[in-house]
């Protein structure tokens, strides 16, 4: 295997899906790539001055402006007639929430930029606070369960649909547990003459609370339960989904994570489990995940 473009020695946690995801993305994109990252775990774990894990040109500016910064990079590449990939790699906080204005602008202006969101479903860098990506009932430090709370009261924001509403020509969901699929999607996205968006399921060991050795298995379960459909949209049309051979109940996915343990402590949370199962069932039907 060729040397990774993300050098070892970074400070990410053991069992974190983020560096694995980034390595897969960079493997597919290759060295002729400029990466723009917002503030977040990726930035702080890979660039403690004067060290850097990045073997491609990399720039971080602020939490919410990666898409605008990348737009400036991309117009200069076009001006210089250079065929270099521009890839944004950011977490869900910057992607779903604080960076939404800049993301919308970048999508709408049609820059040739691949946006990869490593989605760990909360603000992990600041200590596991709820984001717009946090799923229904998940415990975070700002959606703690209590006598009046069963965790996050809202469903996850549908970011791929937001990208599609901007007529982004290539949109996909992916998972760290499906590396061949992820690499294929990155390569497909980079062929597109315009913006593209890939949202990767990337478990966070401290935020989701699981055994480090089960990270890949956990992300695979997210797919196999129907909670994280692997899909691909080309020019606005659903172009492919990963079929599930033997769908698993959401309970299998939820019960091995600390962020859902409150659902299993008392018997009165059966309603919540049923509601989460209903989300998975709706995905199964919408994407025809099971033959």
């Amino acid at each position: 295997m060729e040397k990774s473009l993300l050098a070892p020695g970074h400070r990410a946690c053991a069992g974190c899906a983020m560096p694995t995801t980034i390595r897969l993305v960079l493997d597919a994109a290759g060295p002729n790539t400029i990466v723009v990252s917002p503030t977040g775990c990726l930035e702080v774990t890979t660039t403690p001055f004067p060290e850097s894990s990045w073997c491609v040109p990399w720039i971080h500016s602020l939490f919410e402006n990666a898409s605008a910064v990348a737009s400036g990079v991309e117009v200069m590449l076009k001006r210089q007639k250079k065929d270099t990939n521009v890839v944004i790699i950011g977490g869900d906080g910057s992607t779903f929430d604080i960076g939404m204005g800049c993301n919308s602008g970048m999508f709408e202006r049609g820059h040739k930029i691949l946006y990869v969101c490593y989605d760990n479903e909360a603000y992990m860098n600041t200590g596991v606070q709820r984001s717009g990506s946090t799923p229904f009932c998940a415990q975070t430090t700002t959606t703690p369960p209590g006598s009046r709370s069963k965790g996050n009261p809202r469903p996850k924001k549908d970011m791929p649909a937001i990208a599609l509403a901007h007529k982004v020509p290539y949109v996909a969901t992916a998972s760290v547990a499906y590396p061949v699929d992820l690499r294929k999607k990155v390569k497909a996205a980079l062929q597109v003459d315009g913006p593209s968006y890939i949202q990767v399921n990337a478990p966070c060991i401290t935020g989701w609370s699981f055994d480090a050795g089960t990270m890949i298995e956990l992300s695979r379960l997210a797919v196999e339960t129907g909670l994280w459909p692997l899909a691909e949209w080309v020019n606005g049309e659903l172009a492919g989904v990963k079929k599930i051979r033997r769908p698993k109940p959401v309970k299998d996915y939820l019960e091995i994570q600390g962020r859902y343990k409150h659902l299993f402590k008392k018997n009165d949370c059966g309603d919540q489990l049923a509601k989460i199962q209903a989300i998975a069932d709706a995905n199964m039907a919408k994407y025809k995940l099971v033959d």
């Binding site: 040109p57 910064v69 919308s104």
Partner: protein, 398 residues
């Protein structure tokens, strides 16, 4: 200032004159969001790009925050970068302002100075830029359209100097200068190119030589980043003077370097201020001089870096100083008067310094107002009654 060759002058709108100056600077990337009274500048630039007169990438973005963020990426690619904004737009950029200066990106931006809301007010004062005095950008304040034109070209020369590499705001009073039609000598493109050679960036995002921009710094290195910015600002004082001198050699015009003076040498009462109110003050001084009053003016052209030595030199003979400024530091005094007092505290020069917040939210400052301020300054020589006040406060509506 020096004489202008009137034969080459044209009557144009201030915003057009500035846009023409920007065109002569040949920026690679322009990124801006419309906000009154900056709009005409970017509209003219858009038309120049549309007509093929200006070969720039012009990005029409979703906010001022995005506008300046685009220039972070462009500048990291080695672009000569330009934006323009004002007031609320500058406030929305605030986070990026620190980033651009922290990453030592020589962006130039015309700020069409305007009041800050609430209450909403689109008219001129300088609260927007003075409020951003600590973000690391150099700030040049101009007195008329011609100086706005000339300072814009000079700004790139200073910003892109390898020893400086700092962003610059060229601050021009909104409406008063952006929307006025007055005779201006537009820049000659050839001369502008001679004066301002192509930008030579040292470090860029390049796959052939990958480097990391915007790493995080812990307590063991953060102070040194700040120190280097501070040091660059201090060094930029000589560069500002040099850029003005070289500009005079090329174009024959000079508006002062760090500061400029008008009848200040023998003056007893000296007014210190920034921006377009200087025209009114000069008229008032002319009238008062005829009456035998020893009144003068010192214009602060560079507010950041703050030219302590140049101001001590220019003001050492004054018996009393009256600072007129279009901003307030709510709960204290105001930017310029506070900075000026601090410039004198450790010197042996002593005179009363009083401050006036005037022209806020676009209220006119008249010759009568200037006379009133001079009277108050003369009275302050015998004892200061009020260190700082709001000029012409309408107490009847309070």
């Amino acid at each position: 200032m020096s004489q202008i060759n009137t034969a080459n002058m044209k009557v144009v709108e201030g915003s057009y004159a500035v846009a023409h100056a920007v065109m002569c600077c040949k920026p690679d990337v322009i990124s801006a969001y419309p906000i009154t009274p900056q709009t005409h500048i970017v509209e003219h630039l858009s038309q120049m790009v549309a007509n093929g007169e200006l070969d720039s990438e012009f990005l029409t973005v979703d906010s001022e925050f995005s506008a300046l963020s685009v220039l972070v990426g462009a500048s990291a690619m080695g672009a000569r970068s330009y934006s323009s904004t004002t007031s609320q737009g500058l406030a929305l950029m605030y986070e990026v302002l620190y980033n651009v200066s922290g990453m030592r990106m020589p962006v130039v931006m015309n700020v069409a100075n305007r009041a800050m809301g609430a209450p909403l007010n689109i008219w001129n004062d300088q609260q927007d830029a003075v409020g951003a005095r600590d973000v690391g950008w150099l700030q040049i304040y101009v007195e008329d359209v011609q100086e706005a034109v000339d300072a814009t070209l000079q700004a790139y020369k200073i910003a892109e100097d390898p020893q400086i590499r700092m962003p610059i705001m060229v601050c021009m009073d909104g409406f008063v200068l952006t929307h006025v039609y007055e005779p201006v000598e537009l820049l000659d493109k050839e001369l502008a190119s001679q004066y301002l050679p192509a930008f030579q960036p040292e470090k860029i995002l390049d796959p052939a030589k990958p480097i990391t921009f915007g790493a995080f710094a812990d307590p063991s290195t953060y102070t040194e980043f700040r120190y280097q910015q501070f040091d660059a600002q201090l060094k930029s004082m000589a560069k500002i003077e040099k850029a003005a001198k070289e500009f005079e050699e090329t174009f024959g015009r000079h508006y002062g370097g760090l500061v400029d003076s008008y009848f200040a040498d023998d003056a007893e009462v000296v007014i210190v201020t920034m921006g377009s109110v200087i025209g009114t003050i000069k008229d008032a001084i002319d009238a008062m001089r005829k009456e035998g009053k020893k009144v003068g003016l010192v214009k602060v052209r560079s507010y950041r870096p703050f030219p302590v030595q140049a101001l001590r030199q220019a003001l050492k003979g004054a018996s009393v100083i009256a600072v007129i400024e279009k901003d307030v530091s709510i709960g204290a005094e105001a930017g310029l008067v506070t900075d000026l007092k601090s410039a004198f505290y450790n010197s042996k020069i002593r005179m009363p310094i009083i401050g006036f917040a005037a022209g806020l939210g676009g209220r006119d400052i008249t010759i009568k107002d200037i006379r009133k301020i001079v009277d108050k300054a003369e009275a302050a020589r015998k004892g200061i009654e009020s260190e700082f006040e709001f000029l012409d406060l309408r107490t009847e509506i309070l």
